[in-house]
Subunit: 349 residues, 2 copies
């Protein structure tokens, strides 16, 4: 089969380059924002985002929580737009995340934050968008135009922007050094293409699957599930391993695909153990995005990623997930560039 | 077919009584907690919860946001337990919600809040549990012993406890009057039993479905989906109508079941319009929990609930959803009292 040529695959492969560009353009800007925001000027961070960007927000919740001790809340935009009953934002630093910077409900959150006199930052690919111009500071993700409907390079750009702010807050030389490897990590993750393509063949007849992960990669479970939904029409549902044991575990039957995000780190053992249990006791077919070489029979299919600190693993992990979603679309006979019923900019209110 | 007799159905039907008991025992306690917590002693509310209780927390996010102007954040318990890197909680009022009050990760959040000198409240059915004894204040939900694995009366008890705190904060006579109707609303919602049973027959062969809603009833979409997962092994996925248009809409094919929570109110038109569009343009089979009598062809199957203010509708709405889940389990030949792989108290860390 010849290599399929699509906008989505092109943009997946642009990620080493787009991340390298953001690393160079964004580090100074992130430092500027971090030093302008006095730590005692806010108690918590409220993020306004939707769709893919809301998945990036979940990375911020764990990364800024664990490494910068910031408590992150995710906004309910409909309180600001549909219900017109915005909460009191005293104590909040309000951060908008959006590829286009245009969604009216998110613009409403940023405007309300401004009206209440709160500090505001927007992370976006469009530095002249309504959300950006409403904000005190803008951190552009510099991903270049994204043409595919399914976001890929703008998502990893948002993750890197979040990590740049984290490193700027921590002023850790170790964090900055790790970040300098990001383009290389992305390039190595692209090496999973052949493995992703092979594993995706097992998805050709699948209508539903579960995506498991926890901690920093909770974001990856949401984003991987969303990519599968958008491009392959699979009902892919993200779960934290903890929530999964609180009920959804009941849905697993023989042959049911369980996709796990399981890089080495704090939560690896828990995820691999659950995957192994679902595989042996319930006959689930398991797929693992991991850099662990001996997974002791937890996974039927491996999607390899390079070694990195656990907190940085969501970037290579989602690249493996993007490739897997792309090839699953092909295995199911769909064109991932033309998802039915979707358009690039979604204007929800 | 004779009336099936099960713990779950018994407990569903106990709700008018358990809610009436909480109304009487909880109003004074809620007023006491509200007056003890000076409004300037915290800037935002952080809720720690898992599973069903986390769904109740989503109700708090909208209710306290829209009607009390409180910004609500949902905790990431693994930051406190698994990662041992808890965020700084300055400015937070920390509220734990748990049926059993025992889950170690939630106990860890309450203990950390205490250690950081933050005010704490626990909403629980077990007022002597570890979470309760760690907290400054306890609001018991007084639901009596819950024997079924799938939570029903403890969930509506948590919703009512949240609403009692809201009314205590607003000191609104109108809110208190509306709350006095809650047992009656629950009793009327039980009248949906026959309709739920009929509609559930269309679910007998279903493996996956979407559950749509927004605003106050975002909580209902999560809890309805969880009940279906626990008792019927259907892969039921909750979506906000806004997020749905950002990607997942692509999964809908002809005959795909779309379950909507659509009581009269601010978001009714948007939900009914999306349901009608999915039904006519994509051939989805639509089910609507609603008190609107003329739904203009949005729904193939109606699950009727009584009229109430929109903010109180999540209580009757989930009762209709519980009945529907219960009868769907029967239609699929499962025993809802014995979900495979689940136990009543889930001890996640």
């Amino acid at each position: 089969m010849p290599e399929p040529k699509t906008k989505m695959l092109d943009e997946i492969k642009q990620q080493p380059e787009s991340l390298d560009r953001l690393l160079r353009s964004g580090q100074g800007r992130a430092a500027e924002i971090a030093s302008a925001l006095a730590p005692d000027s806010y108690h918590y961070i409220l993020i306004a985002a939707r769709g893919t960007s809301d998945n990036a927000a979940r990375y911020a919740q764990y990364l800024w929580g664990a490494r910068n001790r910031r408590q992150v809340a995710l906004a309910a935009p409909s309180l600001f737009s549909t219900y017109h009953q915005p909460p009191n934002l005293d104590g909040a630093l309000v951060i908008g995340i959006s590829q286009s910077g245009q969604s009216p409900d998110l613009v409403a959150v940023m405007q309300e934050a401004k009206a209440q006199g709160r500090p505001t930052v927007t992370i976006t690919n469009e530095p002249n968008s309504p959300m950006a111009v409403t904000s005190d500071w803008v951190l552009p993700i510099d991903a270049g135009t994204e043409n595919a409907v399914a976001a890929t390079k703008t998502y990893t750009g948002q993750l890197l922007a979040i990590a740049l702010l984290s490193a700027a807050w921590s002023k850790s030389a170790e964090d900055s050094a790790a970040l300098r490897s990001v383009a290389d990590l992305a390039a190595q993750a692209l090496n999973a293409e052949a493995a992703s393509r092979r594993a995706s063949e097992a998805m050709a007849e699948v209508v539903a699957c579960a995506v498991l992960g926890r901690g920093y990669n909770r974001a990856t479970t949401f984003e991987w599930a969303l990519k599968l939904q958008e491009t392959t029409y699979t009902l892919a549902q993200p779960y934290s391993t903890a929530d999964f044991r609180h009920g959804p575990i009941a849905v697993i039957e023989s042959g049911f695909p369980v996709l796990a995000v399981a890089p080495a780190g704090t939560v690896y053992d828990e995820i691999a153990e659950l995957a192994a249990q679902l595989r042996t006791e319930r006959g689930a077919t398991t797929f693992g995005i991991t850099n662990v070489t001996d997974t002791s029979g937890a996974f039927d299919h491996l999607l390899p990623i390079p070694n990195s600190p656990e907190w940085l693993s969501p970037i290579p992990a989602i690249i493996a997930g993007q490739l897997f979603s792309y090839y699953t679309a092909h295995a199911k006979g769909h064109d991932p560039d033309e998802p039915r019923g979707l358009s690039k900019v979604t204007r929800t209110v």
